[in-house]
Symmetry: C2
Subunit: 147 residues, 2 copies
Amino acid sequence: MKYPMKLSNAMHILAFIYINPKNDLSSATIAVSVHTNPAYVRQIMADLKMAGILNNTQGHANPTFTRPADKITLLDVYRAVEGDKPLIHIDTNINPDCNVGVNIQRILQEKYQMIQKDAEESMHKVTLEQIVDEFHKCTKDQSMRWD
Amino acid sequence: MKYPMKLSNAMHILAFIYINPKNDLSSATIAVSVHTNPAYVRQIMADLKMAGILNNTQGHANPTFTRPADKITLLDVYRAVEGDKPLIHIDTNINPDCNVGVNIQRILQEKYQMIQKDAEESMHKVTLEQIVDEFHKCTKDQSMRWD
DNA sequence: AATACTTGTAAAAAATAAAATTACATGATA
DNA sequence: TATCATGTAATTTTATTTTTTACAAGTATT
């Protein structure tokens, strides 16, 4: 499948770091878990770094969060990896000479923006902390917690 | 992949039919407005027909709605053309031997389903009638109204 | 200082989902 | 009957994402 999965992979990477802070956190190790290659992990980590979520130092595998995990939301990560790309797209390639086409797409865009806003409010309520908490609950393995 | 645009094109097609009920509504004519080809228009109309939104008879270009336009929502059309495909996808191709990967994706899926639900509630509030009403308002051309 | 790691990044290639196209069977209408 | 139309399956093309390759540059250990 080639659906966009940077969001899911970015959350995976962040969760991996949060769950295994003492482990080897090199892009190579994380890549094994995400089932991809180190360069792609580094690309996503670069997005997260650019968005001010992650700290990392070149040459040294020691990624850390810039803020507590309960302040890192799904929306933050979505914005970090997807930027302004919306969930639903209008068709910008309609016939420009058709009054119906031009205006309907413009009106649709307004509606999509409202839907996007609702989805983003929903994403804003989900934190990395919540997700990792649920992970620990369901695995019944609190031994690796470090907080 | 290309961005999915069946939803926007399906809404375009429905609006075109609603705005121009007396015009030629052949797939060829609609395709000119959508800037695509007749077969693709027919494919989308087949989805809408299958979903019980549109009536059409083979061999005769006379598409009609099965119900009033204020009972046709964006969600209805989304379901018609996208089926169960969600807006956000988990990564199903993670390393199955990694406890973190498997569980994080499972937990993410639950979160995505909540976001999907909110987005769908938002889509449910938008009707074809509203969109075409806005079209008529902004074009200041009510002369083609037939209701 | 040498080495063996690492990250950071760009660029190219491969994969794949969506749209576009084609082809033709079938139905409607004059 | 001729000429339209729709319905639909199969194939090709296109666009986006992921994957891969490559290498510059930083870090740590010996």
